[in-house]
Symmetry: C2
Subunit: 392 residues, 2 copies
C-alpha cells in the first residue's frame, strides 16, 4: 500500500523529540493526544475519523507513537502515517456509539500493555475530542495511574512551523487567493447567496491547476446585508440586493494546513462612512503588520492596531488574531496565543497568524484581514489579494 | 431585525414540553445542553459558533430556554431563535481561548441567578462540545449543585421527527440527489479527484433552482482506487485512472437537516466479481428496506440484511445504519439507535435513518446505501437515485 506522507521521517522525528523533551520536563510518562491536529502533526494521520474515540499515544520510552482508533479507519493510518503496523491498533465496531462499551477501556488495556498501569499520563482536558465522558471512562479504566492535564503541550510546539510547513502554508494561501478572487468575480446584485457559496467551494476544492485543495476546518462565512454584523451566521438562498455589503471569511487548505482571509465587498456604491471605515481598518492593519517581527510580543502588535483605531475614534471588542496552521473541523483554533492585550507571547520565525481585523458594530460590519508568517526580519503575507474594500 | 425561523412557535413549544416532561421524570431541574443540534432543535439557533463555549439552558420552571454564548454571536441568537432578548446572554471576548478565565463561571452565575445553586443539573457528558475541561470548570463553578449525566435525553426525543421536519428532510434529499447526479456526470478517467469534489460541493451549495443548500456535518467522502477500502480518507489531486472504483458518500443539507447517500461508480468496465458483489448489496438493501415499518426493531431490520449477505457468503463488520436529522460539524451522529444486532429500539413513524450498507474488505470496497423515513406503513426513500453500481 502506497504511503502518502508530506514530510520526511527526519521532520517527524524532530517533532517527536520536541514533544518528548517537554514530557520529560513535566515528568509525564505517557501522553494521550485527542486533538486531531496534534495526531496529524506527530504521525501524519489524516482521515475524518476523529468523531469516534481516537488517540495517538506517545510513550516516553518507546521509539514510535501508537495510533488507536476504529477498525474501518485502520487502513487510513497505514496509508497516511509512518508508523509500523504494530503501532496501529484498532477497536472493533461494537464500541462505536455503544451504551455498554467504551473505547477508553480498549485504550486503557494498551496503556497497561506498554507498562503504563501506574504511569503519569497526560491528557488534553480542553480538547473538543476529549469529552467529559471520555475522561471519566479513562479514569475508570486506569485507576492506578496519575492522570494530569497536558492540554496545549503539543499545540505550543507546533505553533512554530518548519520551513517545509511554511511552504505548504504558501500553497494554502494560493488556494485562498483563488477562492477570494472567484468570490469577487461572482458577487453581483441578483445572484443568490448560496450560488456565491457554490463558486467559493468549487474553487476551494479545485485549488490551482498545479495542486488541489481540500476541506476546511469550518464552513466559509458569507455574512451579507443585515447579517454583515453576525460573523458566524449561515448564508441564505436570497438574491443579493442592488446595494449591500458582503463580508466573506474564506479558508484555503492544503494537506490540512489552513490560511484564512476576509474581505468586504460593497455591491453598489458604498456609503461614504463605510468607505471611510475601510480606510481606517486598512491603515491599522498595515501599521500592525509592519510591527510584526521576532522578539515583539502579541500584545505589542495588538497595541499598535488599537492605538491606530482609537485615533479615529474606534474600538475593537474581539481579539485581533490567532495562530493558524494544521487544523481539522470544527475549528482551526490552536488555543495558544492571541493578538490581544495581556498576551506576552514572543513572536518567533515560523509562527503564522491570521490578523483578524474584522470590526462588528451595532449597525455595520467590515472584514479586511491578513494571514502572515513571522520571518527572520518581519513578516511574509500568506495571501496576495489587495487589502482594500472591493466595490462591485 | 428579521427573525429567520423555519418552524412555528407551536412546534418549538411542543419540543420543549417533551423535554421538560422527561426532565421532570428524572427529577432534573436544569438542563445544560452543549450539543449544537439539541440547541437548534429547542430554540432554532443556527450559527457556527459552538466551538467556543455555548449552552442552551432549560429550566423546568421557566417558560423559555436561555441561550448563553459569545458576544459576537449574540446577534445570531436574536436572528435565528424565538427567544426573548432577556433570554439571550453573552460573555465578553476576554473569555475566549483564555488560560485564566472560564466561560463556565459566567454560565454558573446565570444558573445561580435563576435559583439553581443547589439544583439537580443535567449535562451532556458524551457531547463533543462538552470537554473534560468544561465539566471540571462547571463542577467548580457550582459546588453545591448535583450534576448528573443527561446525555442523549434530547437526542432520543428529536429522533422522532414531526411532519414539518420530514418535509425539510425531503428537500435535503433533493439536494443530495442533485449532488450525486452531478458527481456521476463528472466522474471520468483523467479528471482530478479534487475536481470531482469541486463539482459536488458546488452543487451542494447551489442546491436546486427553488432552494439553496448549506454546509454538511462532515466533508464528503471520495474514496477512490486504492482508497476505496478507506471510508474516511481524504481525496487527492491525482487524475482518475482509466479503470478504477469511485466510492462516494455525500451529504445534502437544508436548514441543518442532512440526508446521506453513498454510491459506487466504476470507471471502465467493472470486474465481474465486483459487479456480482454490487448485485448482492442491492438485494440485501432492498430486502432490509422492505422490512422497515413501525413496530419492527433495529436489530430485526439488521438481521434481514445480514442473513441475505450470509446466503452469498458475505459478512459486514460495521453497523448497518444510524439515525439522521439535524446536524452540525463534526458529525451528524445522534448516538442513539443503530441498525445492528442487539439494538432493540422500536421503529416509529418520523424516524429517519441512513441505511449504511457499505462493505469494506481487504481488497475492495462498495457503497450503495439508502436514507429513509419510517412512515405509518413502511418506509419512504429520502433520495431517488437508483440503487445500483454506476458504470462510466
Amino acid at each position: 500500500m502506497k504511503k502518502e506522507l508530506h514530510f520526511g521521517r527526519a521532520e517527524f522525528d524532530q517533532r517527536l523529540a520536541s514533544v518528548k523533551k517537554e514530557m520529560a520536563k513535566r515528568g509525564i510518562d505517557i501522553l494521550l493526544l485527542s486533538e486531531p491536529a496534534n495526531q496529524n502533526y506527530l504521525t501524519g494521520f489524516d482521515a475524518y475519523s476523529f468523531y469516534t474515540p481516537q488517540v495517538v499515544m506517545v510513550v516516553l520510552e518507546r521509539d514510535e507513537p501508537i495510533w488507536i482508533g476504529r477498525l474501518v479507519d485502520r487502513v487510513s493510518a497505514v496509508m497516511t502515517t509512518y508508523l509500523a503496523d504494530d503501532n496501529i491498533r484498532a477497536y472493533p465496531d461494537r464500541y462505536v456509539a455503544s451504551a455498554e462499551l467504551s473505547a477508553y477501556d480498549f485504550m486503557g488495556d494498551i496503556v497497561k500493555e506498554v507498562g503504563g498501569e501506574r504511569a503519569k499520563i497526560g491528557v488534553e482536558m480542553g480538547s473538543l475530542y476529549y469529552s467529559a465522558r471520555a475522561h471519566a471512562d479513562l479514569v475508570k479504566a486506569l485507576p492506578l495511574a496519575e492522570i494530569v492535564d497536558a492540554d496545549l503541550l503539543v499545540n505550543w510546539i507546533r505553533m512554530v512551523m518548519s520551513p517545509a510547513e511554511v511552504s505548504i502554508m504558501r500553497q494554502a494561501g494560493r488556494i485562498t487567493d483563488a477562492m477570494m478572487q472567484r468570490a469577487i468575480d461572482t458577487v453581483e446584485a441578483g445572484v443568490r447567496e448560496c450560488d456565491v457559496a457554490a463558486a467559493i467551494y468549487s474553487q476551494q476544492m479545485s485549488g490551482t491547476p498545479e495542486f488541489g485543495g481540500t476541506y476546511s476546518c469550518s464552513p466559509h462565512f458569507l455574512c451579507i446585508g443585515e447579517r454583515a454584523i453576525a460573523p458566524h451566521a449561515p448564508w441564505t438562498d436570497a438574491p443579493l440586493a442592488a446595494s449591500t455589503v458582503v463580508n466573506l471569511e474564506l479558508f484555503g487548505v492544503r494537506h490540512r494546513y489552513q490560511v484564512n482571509l476576509a474581505r468586504s465587498i460593497s455591491v453598489g456604491k458604498p456609503a461614504p462612512a463605510y468607505q471611510k471605515l475601510s480606510g481606517i481598518v486598512v491603515e491599522a492593519l498595515d501599521v500592525a503588520l509592519e510591527n510584526v517581527r521576532p522578539g515583539r510580543t502579541c500584545e505589542e502588535v495588538h497595541a499598535v492596531f488599537s492605538q491606530t483605531l482609537a485615533r479615529h475614534g474606534y474600538e475593537k471588542e474581539t481579539r485581533l488574531g490567532y495562530p493558524i496552521g494544521i487544523g481539522f473541523p470544527p475549528s482551526l483554533q490552536l488555543r495558544t496565543a492571541s493578538l490581544r492585550k495581556g498576551d506576552k507571547t514572543v513572536l518567533q520565525p515560523g509562527m503564522c497568524f491570521h490578523m483578524m481585523s474584522g470590526l462588528w458594530y451595532e449597525d455595520t460590519g467590515i472584514t479586511i484581514t491578513q494571514s502572515f508568517a513571522v520571518t527572520e526580519s518581519g513578516h511574509e503575507s500568506l495571501t496576495s489579494i489587495p487589502r482594500k474594500l472591493f466595490v462591485k
